[in-house]
Amino acid sequence: MPGYSVFSILRNGLSGDRYWRRAWRAPNPKPAYDVVIVGGGGHGLAAAFYLAENHGIRNVAVLEKGYVGGGNVGRNTTVIRSNYLLDGNTQFYEFSMKLWEGMSQALNFNVMFSQRGMLITAHSADQLDSFGFRANIMRLNGIDADILHRDEVRRLVPYLDFSDKARAPIHGAIFQGRAGTARHDAVAWGYARAADAHGVDIIQGCEVTGFVRDGERIVGVDTKRGRIQAGKVGLAVAGHTSLLGRKAGLELPIESHVLQAFVTEPIKPLVHHIVAHGTEHFYVSQSDKGGLVFGGGLDGYNSYAQRGNLGMVREVAEAAVALMPCISRLRILRHWGGVMDMTPDGSPIICPTPIDGLYLNGGWCYGGFKATPASGWCFAHTIATGKAHPLSAGYSLDRFRTGRTIDEAGIGPFAWLQ
């Protein structure tokens, strides 16, 4: 496939953009593949790409129920950071960050990764202390982290409420300069195009309805486009993992919840970083089109409806205006919802399963986007070798049985409180 470059842009621009080739093929499913990945979101496509790129396994199909980029990879708020506290998370997300830093070159696709820096405000001396603890853990792992005091925060983001009347006075912030955003559609398209170039079949509109078994082993899937045999099957359908897992016979510690996101009308450049409220559910960045993209917490009850409730709209708007009074008169253009796999400890699952031939990637809670490259990398390793990658070894399904949970949020087994 011809690569994208400044020359291809010039050549195609001068010929009226009539000769661009499709970014990936639209093949019919073959009767059998070495590996079938269910779910053509960021994680499934990345896993397919790294199966081909890192492990030489190219006879691979990615089956997508709807269309590429139509699920959570196109619904998130695109924040990428690696400011995790707990062993297992810290190293995994930093590895992901490093893959992000080389992604546009690796995929020959501009994912518009913009390392604009992220700060989380601290609203008490104690919270700033706890951020200091986190920053030290990050630095010990070679990750950039800074603690900012009130005056430094004020220099960086003067539009926050520093008045005497502030609902939650700002004591400081934790700052990660390498954190940023990326264009989420481009991530899905980039991985799809790069995987396709390695021979991976990306089959859209192909819902999996069941699994084919030979004895106990899973040897294929039934789809709306017929039966497909597979040496190995990987599930990457976060949001709907319970439904497909049940069809395979897995009992999972997952609840599906809806998380909303919002975008305002476009304004001139105001928010140059990602800013997150330290105590309320609110974080914001500004898109290249000028809209403020922001999100909050879960609606708080089990849901498979990809739409949110006004109660949370109000809660997020209140937190937003408490932190940034200057946006109180901005109008919200759109709000939408995505379905999250919520695990009891807030950490994901990437592992072989007790069922032969079946591999699981799910439970991403509401932090899956930033993990896309590392998740694909580790899932490809797990499928290719049958063993967990050292970086994702903590994300096993049996950690709930053995008590080795990675409970970053410290909430315990109450998905809706995370």
């Binding site: 009992e251 510690p253 609840e255 599906s256 109660g311 087994p413």
Partner: protein, 88 residues
């Protein structure tokens, strides 16, 4: 807002309530030493796309625990009973 018909207070917005999760999960008796039973009680969830029995507590109201039957695909509420009655 979801409108929950509290049997004691009448129809109220769901933000008067606190969600309490899947009501079909059964807590093992206190001296049950079966590890699997406790593991399933704490962690494993059916998580259906469709009818779901779930606990809600009317915290800004009568403070009673209710069992609500709700469809997780469209949030339609089919039934509301007090948790005491639902258990009996």
């Amino acid at each position: 807002m979801l409108r929950i018909e509290c049997p004691y207070c009448g129809p109220r917005d769901h933000d008067e309530f606190r969600y309490g999760g899947d009501a079909s999960v059964i807590r093992p008796v206190h001296d049950d030493a079966d590890f699997e039973a406790w593991y399933r009680y704490v962690f494993v969830r059916e998580n259906p796309a469709g009818p779901h029995r779930e606990y809600w507590q009317h915290v800004i109201g009568c403070r009673q625990w209710l069992v609500v039957g709700r469809d997780t695909r469209n949030h339609e509420i089919a039934s509301v009973r007090s948790a005491r009655e639902a258990r009996a």
